[in-house]
Symmetry: C2
């Protein structure tokens, strides 16, 4: 089954078994005078207030796999109470894995890659469920630049050190070192929603993350 | 002078000397069929394409202080090319400091505080200018909980370890340790836009960050 959790989306490329827009849409809130940002924040609050309805509907679905499509803006789902509450509610009744999708256009600069490796770590800490990272759009030309960066991630710290001076340098290089270890633990998969590349590998990774026998996070 | 860089805001509580809505508004893009999220992303792209206009106008202002109000969604400014491009353009001609505003409602849970301490670090790495952190809304009751957390930040690692098992535990506690060091370096100031508390301290902190004599980042 597919679930849409984005109150701001206009149309989804799938037919959701449950759609959070049954509760609230950003469009409607904007008609009532809120701006796009205010509308999204208010929608997240309204969803959180009605979380028992959302998680009740999701938990009552009878499927082997449920794919939950979260809002494009990570802040809306991760930094506000909505996302953690939802995952807490559903992880109580079923095995739950979060899939963090890295955009190669962001990850193809040094600071962008640092962000791209930090966000799955934050996702892991915040949602408290195993987190799998994938780089999507592996059919795009940026991917080769990302791969070069990833291969020698410790250079990232050097690069930041070259650009910066002072206390940040030491901190940044230790930060990058930690992200490096983390990304090794995580084994990031390249996928393409367009060509289907990497989907089997992603499936295996999710399976391993669910299987509690391993050390995988 | 005040600058509004948020293409989605409906009204600002100040009179901007330059307003990015001269170039594009999310509202207009939504009238042309985009959703709120798509509209904000497209607006960020259009602003980036016209960055020379924006930075030209900002650089030509004749003020001692220029305050740039960035979009509420951090992703829009920090993760896309718009923000780094703007800061690069203006930091070439004037001393630039970023002020990261921590929301106490997010920072009053363990994972929320981890996020709240990570984001100024990411901001620093991404914008490559000194970054000062403030906790706003110090008049709110949540602030005492944040302070308790901050006082003994190493407990955060312990707390996450209690909740989780496996590889993440070790990584999380080292991550928290790093954030702890970072936040000590940063000296976070409590402020209240409502009562004016902490504004002098913030001013001092910004001054120190601009003064290159110190070790402050």
């Amino acid at each position: 089954s597919y679930i849409n959790m984005d109150p701001g989306v206009y149309s989804t490329p799938y037919h959701p078994s449950y759609d959070v827009r049954e509760i609230v849409t950003v469009e409607k809130l904007m008609e009532n005078g809120l701006g796009p940002n205010g509308g999204m924040i208010r929608a997240a609050e309204i969803i959180e207030e009605n979380m028992h309805i959302v998680s009740g509907k999701i938990n009552s679905l009878n499927s082997d796999f449920i794919l939950i499509d979260t809002p494009g803006q990570i802040e809306l789902f991760l930094f506000r109470p909505m996302g953690p509450r939802l995952i807490e509610d559903i992880a109580r009744y079923s095995q739950t894995v979060s899939v963090y999708i890295i955009d190669p256009t962001l990850a193809s600069s040094s600071s962008g890659l640092a962000i791209s490796l930090t966000l799955p770590l934050i996702t892991r800490l915040r949602l408290k469920v195993p987190t799998v990272s994938v780089i999507n759009k592996s059919d795009m030309p940026e991917i080769s630049k990302v791969e070069r960066f990833m291969e020698n991630i410790s250079n990232l710290g050097d690069e930041i050190a070259r650009e910066d001076a002072g206390l940040i340098t030491d901190l940044a290089s230790r930060y990058i070192q930690l992200l490096n270890e983390f990304s090794k633990t995580m084994r990031i998969v390249k996928t393409s929603a367009k060509t289907g590349e990497g989907m089997n590998e992603l499936y295996t990774l999710i399976h391993e993350a669910l299987c509690e026998c391993g050390d995988l996070m």
